[in-house]
Amino acid sequence: MRKHWGKKAMTMMIVSGLILGGCSGNGNGNGNSNSGSEKENTPSAAAGESAVKTDGFPIVDEPLKLKMFTRIAPANGPFKEMPVFQDYEKMSNIQVEFIESPTDGFPEKKNLLFASNELPDALYRSALSPLETVRYGSAGQLIPLEDLIDQYAPNLKALMEEYPEIRAGITSPEGHIYSIPGIVTLGSARTDKRWINKSWLEKLNLEVPETTDELYDVLLAFRDGDPNGNGQPDELPMTARKGLQIVNFMAGSFGLDLQLGYNININDGKVEIWSGSERHKELLMYLNKLYSEKLLDQELFSHTEAQYLAKQGTGNTGLFYDQTNNNFLPIMDQYVGIAPQAGPHDDRLQSNVAPVPRDFGAFAITSVNEHPEATMRWIDYFYGDEGSTLLRFGREGEHYEMKDGIPYYTEEFLAIEGAQGKMTPYAGGGAPHIINDKVASFINPPQVQEAYEQLEPYMPEIRYAAPMFDEATAQQVNVLRNDIDKYFEEQSTKFIVGALSFDKWDEFQATLKKMNLEELQKIYQEAYDKMAK
């Protein structure tokens, strides 16, 4: 009993200790060896240059081995069975051993990796946040990549020259690049389409909704008009991904943009965080109306990703959002992509658009890596058409065939259920590679292209990516946003489901102010000023 008590009473006291104390030994040990290897890196870089070729394959004559930490999505199989890594290993002479961590719990594993300083050679598909990148970069756990990109990454370098926003989006104020993003030059892959059930519209003799009021009427008709004809009120008028994604989709109809990777409007060079603004209130009131009248999925805040995707495939959903039609291919004819609706103030914007460097922090090289040049060359391949094709489509003949110079999956391959997700690491998102129109036959078929054309006129002129702050500012932003974002999310959810009445809006506003929203706005303004210069 005494033992039991001691254990319990101490647990909290050493909650950090258990995790960090255990790591402290390693931390120190590794820390020393790190600084050692870091110093060695510089001279060995010169020696290594002769071994690593700047172009052509194999990358190295002597086979070498790298350890990479990666996220494995539910759709994926083991990475070592993927044709891309099997074939590329033979081609490059670099063997990669993946340490796989499932999507659930991935952020935890990633953070503990850094906290314990037990680093792999590189992080693949790691979704590092700008704060993490700067934090671990200035701590010396991630190495700066700008020189390596210059010398060993011709594909990436060319992309960065063509799209200057990439460099702006990933370079820290000190001028370092600590991570490489997944790059998406294909506009359609940077935004989710608005899919509406065309056959329901036709059945009920309705037009495509052009305004938010019309949208409301259409959803009402979906709910009550029995468009699926089974005599039961079981239609789901509208759904979206779990949580507050719906806010981002409807924001544009209320004049709210999502610049700088946050709730930000930019007018005449002035940065405005719109959380708590009048327009924000109107938006939430609109969503609350949809939710309380059961026009919006009642499971919006509880369904899982898998359940959401299944809802797309049933054909019993009126309106939902997704980048592609891949989740409802068998019933794709029922749906059509539409434009965003105009709101009460005639705003009409597709604000939920990602920047060209879409997947931030997708790849990074750590300080324990003894072959940073070879690693950079290894990853650069995927920023070219050939490498991206290998990554996304596998082997010619076995998985895909070429039509007009563009790869398409073969019918036989697509017929095997789940095979596509197991074959390529891009399924599940966030893989470091280029997505352009040459490798997008699957995610950008004609139907998706048409849906994208609907959205295009309403895209923001410029999409600014989340800015990179220096370490001190990043920490400050982090402290501010930890409280603000948590509060914003919690209260928004409550406003939408009606757990909090809009009488409390003033309180919401006042609390945001107390949490120093203005300070945060000032920081973003400064970052924007630097960026716009």
Binding site: M12, E108, L112, Q141, F301, V497, A499
Partner: protein
């Protein structure tokens, strides 16, 4: 491990007083002390060793520099926490969940034990005990899964409410329901298990006392009140103090699993906050400070209750 400690303790005083002094005693009973080494090592390695890491609460922990090498921050992290918007909410939720648990959930195993003790039929009493133990062996994840299924808007409980003409409630998405569901399901899961100690203590009460009370004409309730309860009072006090010992950190996994944006108002507690901010967002120093604050409160509570118990009932841990 405990038996090693007690037997070592009980045996040493009975030694003849030939040249006292610990080394001699140890030499004499070296085999028992050897057995004691294991628990001591356990505490040193797993409970005292990690205390070294606590210093990061006063530092800006940087993994590359290690715990010792990170720069000092002083009380900055504590100040940030005390100034945080969530401070009072976290503190209130942590304390209130545990306080209500203590007030409501603590007496129930005692009542159950008294009940079981009074049952004449051995068969029925065994059966009752087994039924109440079983939920203890279900994992937390499964328990929360059961709660989700039972309490969902389309689950059996809401169907029953609807059938009776009421309006369905989203039990798991309402802040007002969280504590009731959390504590209620805890009682259901643990009352049987926790009553074991009381049942054992009750079987140790001298039967002569019951017989004497019966002779004096005491009713059943009187016998429970005047014989059974005083008989197990020391056990109750000790268990109460033990419960206070982990007052501030009950049910972390279960709370985390039950949490969502809609019930956060009453489900956000210090331990889950430490997890979401510390482990998921990598703010180790800040959350180490919060964890330390939590433990200090717990320690103070424990000392207070122990002192109170010693004064009033002369039973205490030390």
């Amino acid at each position: 491990m405990k038996s090693a400690q007690t037997s070592a303790a009980s045996l040493t005083p009975s030694q003849p007083k030939r040249g006292s002094g610990l080394p001699r005693k140890i030499a004499k009973r070296y085999d028992l002390y050897l057995m004691l080494l294991l628990p001591i090592a356990w505490y040193l390695i797993f409970h005292y060793g990690p205390l070294y890491g606590l210093q990061i609460a006063f530092k800006n922990f940087n993994p590359a520099k290690g715990i010792f090498g990170s720069p000092w921050e002083g009380f900055g992290h504590f100040e940030r926490f005390f100034d945080s918007y969530y401070f009072w909410r976290l503190l209130w939720n942590t304390i209130s969940i545990n306080l209500f648990s203590l007030l409501i959930a603590f007496p129930i195993p005692i009542l159950l034990a008294l009940l079981v003790n009074e049952i004449r039929s051995k068969h029925f009493s065994k059966w009752l005990q087994n039924i109440t133990y079983i939920p203890h062996f279900i994992s937390v994840v499964v328990i929360v899964g059961i709660l989700n299924a039972m309490l969902s808007p389309t689950g059996p409980i809401n169907m029953l409410i609807e059938a009776l003409g009421g309006t369905p409630t989203r039990f798991l998405e309402e802040a007002g329901w969280f504590k009731t569901i959390f504590i209620g399901s805890n009682i259901w899961q643990n009352m049987g298990w926790q009553s074991i100690i009381y049942i054992a203590a009750l079987s140790g009460v001298n039967p002569q006392l019951y017989e004497a009370a019966k002779m004096d004409g005491a009713s059943r309730l009187r016998r429970i009140w005047h014989v059974s309860l005083p008989g197990i009072a020391p056990v109750i006090v000790i268990l109460l103090i033990l419960d206070i010992g982990h007052f501030m950190n009950v049910g972390f996994e279960k709370i985390l699993l039950m949490q969502n944006n809609l019930n956060l108002e009453s489900s956000d507690v210090i331990s889950t906050f430490v997890y979401t901010t510390g482990v998921l967002k990598g703010e180790y120093s800040y959350t180490a400070a919060i964890g330390l604050f939590n433990s200090v409160i717990n320690l103070i509570l424990l000392l207070m209750v122990n002192r109170f118990a010693r004064k009033t009932s002369e039973t205490s841990l030390w």
